[in-house]
């Protein structure tokens, strides 16, 4: 702390700043490159993050020149359907903020209502504080934040957690950044019931659903990461699968695809086990074939319970 003060008096604030050089040396360029390479689709999200990074970079330069003193409000809300990459982006955001020097440690603490709200009187405050202490110096990611607020139960302890959160978000802006995530419509309702949050959150980022094409690319990259691949027929089957799965309930974008691939690997293993006659080569062990995908229940109308519920509704 003292060394910084001495430096400032010796050299004085810089008179010019090379933004391009700052961009490269701060490591922001690496984070954004990683974002582009690792995340498929999500063009509006990437655009918003690039804008935010530019803003923070300029803001840092302004602070070095002594044009502004205040820490900008960095709390964010990520809205979007499940499986659209909110947690992944939050992780990258933590890295970005760390490299720009807005958070000291750059770790991500991911919590839900259960981690913050207690079950009886006097249980909530210590629990919330425990989580906040762990998140200090990093990013606190609250998934499905709207569950904190339950308007139908006025004695709900969620309100207590909300009050502590608001206080810390205001007083410890240098120490931690809060990211709240959840479905767009429920988050809107949550913010309108808790105006304190809306005014303390500067960046709202909306995550769009993936298109079928993007989901197929995601599937390919997921499989490639585990040294599996799809043959031509299996790829067509997977494209059909994605189209059908989207119509059915509990569709969770990339997460649904990951689960589908896990089950396909299961079927592939049991197919190899029962069908294989001779020795298998590496290709046979890592190729997912059409029947592995087509055997899914999605092609027969989804889960039995869902079919029953729908036929009941029709009656």
């Amino acid at each position: 702390m003292t060394t910084e003060m001495i430096d400032a008096t010796e050299t004085g604030p810089p008179t010019t700043i090379d933004l391009a050089a700052e961009y490269e040396t701060s490591g922001v360029a690496d984070v954004l490159r990683e974002l582009d390479e690792h995340l498929i689709g999500l063009a509006p999200v990437k655009q918003r993050i690039r804008e935010t990074a530019a803003l923070l970079l300029v803001d840092r330069a302004r602070r070095e020149m002594g044009l502004t003193q205040e820490t900008p409000t960095l709390h964010m809300s990520f809205t979007g359907n499940p499986g659209t990459g909110k947690t992944t982006v939050a992780l990258m955001m933590a890295g970005l903020l760390h490299r720009l020097g807005y958070v000291r440690k750059g770790h991500l603490v991911s919590v839900t209502r259960d981690d913050l709200v207690g079950q009886y009187i006097g249980h909530t405050a210590p629990k919330t504080k425990e989580v906040l202490k762990k998140a200090m110096g990093g990013v606190l990611f609250i998934d499905e934040a709207y569950y904190l607020y339950k308007p139908d139960n006025e004695r709900d302890y969620g309100q207590e957690a909300i009050e502590i959160l608001l206080q810390v978000m205001e007083n410890n802006r240098d120490d931690l950044v809060v990211i709240m995530a959840g479905y767009a419509d429920k988050m809107d309702k949550f913010f309108s019931a808790n105006p304190g949050f809306r005014s303390r959150i500067a960046h709202h980022i909306d995550f769009p659903d993936y298109t079928d094409q993007e989901l197929l690319r995601i599937a390919r990259s997921m499989l490639a990461a585990q040294n599996y691949f799809l043959d031509g027929a299996a790829e067509r089957a997977l494209a059909d699968y994605i189209g059908l799965r989207r119509q059915q309930p509990h569709f969770a974008n990339a997460r649904s695809i990951r689960n589908a691939l896990d089950r396909a690997r299961l079927r592939q293993a049991s197919r190899l086990f029962s069908d294989a006659k001779g020795p298998l080569d590496a290709d046979a062990l890592s190729m997912i074939c059409e029947p592995d995908i087509r055997a899914s229940r999605v092609f027969r109308g989804g889960l039995d319970t869902d079919i029953a519920a729908r036929s009941q509704a029709a009656e």
Partner: protein, 129 residues
């Protein structure tokens, strides 16, 4: 009388920035931090009251500083110390401990002599407030 114990006992009281830096060092060593307070700073009193649970998985000193702030607010006239516990196998004990708060008016440590059999003398210390 200025009572000293633990690390840095020959130094003037640490400022909050210095305390924060020491805690940062402890966290880097993967030590767990506990805050304790007492009104009886006798050197033989090893049982100080715990302020909350020890903190095991913090990443930043700010979390401890918040607890210390709360403890100071609740017990402004108590001795408060920070303990750093190393859970490494074979060590499993407090590796560092230092005082971070003391009352304005401190007690004195008084030396008491007692005669014993055969003109022997026994010594003990007690706190005088």
């Amino acid at each position: 009388m200025r009572i000293t114990q633990g690390c840095f006992s020959f130094l003037p009281d640490l400022t909050d920035a210095q305390i924060s830096a020491q805690i940062e060092y402890c966290l880097q060593q993967d030590w767990a931090i506990g805050v304790e307070f007492t009104n009886d700073p006798h050197p033989r009193n090893t049982y100080w009251d715990m302020w909350g649970n020890p903190m095991f998985d913090l990443r930043d000193a700010k979390g401890v500083m918040m607890e210390l702030e709360d403890c100071r607010k609740a017990h402004p006239d108590a001795y408060i110390r920070i303990n750093a516990f190393d859970d490494e196998r074979g060590i499993e004990s407090v590796k560092m401990s230092f005082i971070v708060n003391r009352p304005v008016a401190e007690p004195t440590i008084h030396l008491q002599r007692v005669d014993f059999v055969d003109r022997a003398q026994k010594y003990s210390w007690d706190m005088r407030y």
